[in-house]
């Protein structure tokens, strides 16, 4: 990240002491949706917003978008409140398709541009070109004049992506972006998010799919019943679990190798035939092992963060464990 050009990176979004209680349910009484939430979404990075159903993720998104008003606390982008005008910098992809079925794809994108672009894209011809480009980018070129109600679910989702990004937002809020998509479309959606990440868009990714979090996010926040229960970083770090799979070494050989080279101990070793799977806590330890194994010509078939261990640690937060 140090070598990247950050001149166009958006400011951080900072949530400070936000509380939201819904008082609309007369039978159940007030419902605490978000409790004294303070967290930060780093500018130019992708942050996962995680938690079980009803944890407060969507409420948090709606608070950021100004659709809900907090009972207390502030939400700032840089030093400014997220005002109506500030929302011109935001792109939003809701969880399910919420575009009106009686409009065509072209009409929705044109409407979006008219609201978001200001005077820069005022001429109709400019808008037409931008809409055509956005439709082409999501493979909907031949479907621009179809009513949204006649688009398939996958097409509507692609259109949703086009409307969220047509104005090239600095901040992108994605609520379950791949929900209901087939594997191919899911892969495509992930590649679009990755491209936005490369563009240094600040991304808030609200999802239940932990593999997406691992693949795309730099940071994560976990909510449980309105409380922030965990936050962390997903880059190389000291608390994350990593695994190395190495071929042709058994446990006794590995132990000898470790003592000879003065390598740190592994946390867990699993043997599957000729394949040994070593788990480590912390990037430093695993990286040292990787370096030495490669230097000695061993065949390393896999190196990476331990998805399963990460999922288990997150699920403990979901469920209330420690």
């Amino acid at each position: 990240m140090q070598n990247e050009d950050l001149s166009t990176v958006a400011d951080d979004i900072a949530i400070n002491g936000v509380r939201k209680v819904f008082k609309t349910d007369l039978l159940r009484g007030p419902q605490l949706a978000v409790n004294n939430l303070s967290c930060r979404f780093a500018g130019g990075r992708c942050t996962g917003l995680l938690g079980h159903n009803g944890a407060g993720k969507t409420t948090t998104i709606r608070l950021i978008l100004g659709l809900l008003k907090p009972d207390q606390g502030t939400i700032k982008c840089g030093n400014d409140d997220l005002s109506t005008q500030q929302r011109a910098r935001i792109g939003y992809l809701p969880e399910v398709n919420k575009l009106p079925g009686l409009l065509t794809a072209r009409e929705v994108l044109n409407y979006q541009l008219r609201l978001f672009s200001g005077p820069a894209l005022k001429p109709a011809e400019d808008r037409r070109q931008a809409v055509n480009a956005a439709l082409a980018a999501v493979d909907l070129t031949g479907h621009g004049d179809k009513l949204i109600s006649r688009l398939s679910k996958g097409m509507a989702r692609r259109l949703g992506w086009a409307q969220a990004t047509i104005h090239q937002p600095q901040i992108l809020i994605l609520d379950e972006p791949a929900s209901g998509l087939d594997p191919l479309a899911r892969r495509q959606m992930i590649s679009w998010i990755a491209a936005e990440k490369k563009r240094h868009t600040t991304i808030i990714l609200c999802t239940h799919e932990l593999s997406q979090v691992m693949e795309l996010c730099d940071f994560y926040h976990v909510l449980r019943r309105g409380d922030l229960v965990a936050s962390g970083s997903l880059g190389p770090n000291a608390t994350q679990s990593y695994t190395i799979k190495v071929s042709g070494l058994r446990s006794d050989a590995l132990e000898r190798f470790a003592s000879k080279e003065g390598l740190p101990p592994w946390r867990h070793l699993r043997q599957e035939g000729i394949l040994a799977e070593l788990s480590f806590v912390g990037y430093e330890h695993s990286a040292r092992w990787l370096q030495m194994l490669l230097a000695h010509g061993f065949v390393v078939t896999h190196f990476g963060a331990d998805l399963q261990a990460f999922e288990e640690s997150l699920l403990r937060h979901y469920g209330g464990g420690t």
Partner: protein, 258 residues
């Protein structure tokens, strides 16, 4: 700001023009025109009066019901399908969105009013009554203003309550507006002072008979625009007051999909 209002208004107008109600209204107006024409043809006297009584009554009823229905679902529909979320996530204030939506509704009503007038005129020609007079058009336009007032009322109610409640409240207030003047006329000396004050107060503020000039339709003299200024001013004042109130309420509190 005007560009955004125009975008929201045009989008809502497009949605409403494609609504099934628009097609249903067009068919209903053809039926009303035929019914009015046949009723006048089969009558032995007062043919023109019967023609306009039946025709304008039918159109009045239809236009008012559509205004209340569309106005009531203006906010609730967007809440129901979640469109309100992506629309208000834009750099658009809530009053801008609400007023833009109302303008779109008003535009659609004017479009529908033009279609209705064209069908009515064709009907008149087919039954041999010739072209509409200026007075008859003026009466019709005043009726359309009444629809715009009713849709503003329905929008205001839709901001305050859910669709079904807003619809019933709108229908109730419509009936009160239609009968308030008659209620004042029916007040006898035996009515208590409080009752008289309440009924007269309501009739002064909310009297939809201001927009009903059907009695003048057969008058030989043309209706001068200056003579209508009070009614027109009253109509636009009501629309402005109701939209201001609705905007103030709508800008507070939470807006999210159902």
């Amino acid at each position: 700001m005007l560009g955004k209002l125009r975008a929201v208004a045009w989008q809502n107008c497009t949605l409403l023009r494609r609504d099934q109600i628009t097609r249903a209204v067009t068919v209903a107006v053809v039926v009303i025109t035929l019914a009015a024409g046949l009723a006048s043809t089969w009558s032995v006297e007062d043919r023109v009066k019967i023609l306009f009584d039946v025709g304008y009554f039918g159109m009045q009823l239809l236009g008012s019901l559509v205004a209340i229905f569309w106005g009531s679902k203006l906010v609730s529909d967007s809440r129901q399908d979640g469109a309100i979320e992506w629309q208000l996530a834009a750099p658009l204030s809530r009053p801008e969105w609400l007023i833009g939506k109302y303008l779109g509704l008003a535009l659609t009503q004017l479009f529908l009013a033009t279609v209705i007038l064209a069908i009515w005129q064709l009907g008149l020609l087919a039954f041999g009554y010739g072209l509409l007079t200026d007075a008859q058009v003026a009466v019709y336009l005043m009726m359309v203003l009444g629809w715009l007032v009713l849709s503003a009322l329905a929008v205001t109610l839709a901001v305050l309550m859910r669709f079904a409640l807003a619809l019933f409240a709108g229908l109730g207030l419509w009936l009160i507006g239609l009968t308030s003047q008659s209620a004042v006329a029916a007040l006898g000396p035996e009515s208590s002072g409080t009752s008289q004050a309440v009924v007269r107060g309501i009739a002064r503020v909310w009297n939809l008979q201001h927009f009903n000039l059907i009695d003048r339709v057969l008058e030989p003299r043309a209706i001068q625009p200056s003579a209508l200024s009070d009614q027109i001013g009253y109509g636009f004042l009501l629309v402005a007051m109701m939209l201001t109130f609705a905007s103030l309420v709508f800008r507070r509190g939470d807006v999210a999909a159902a």
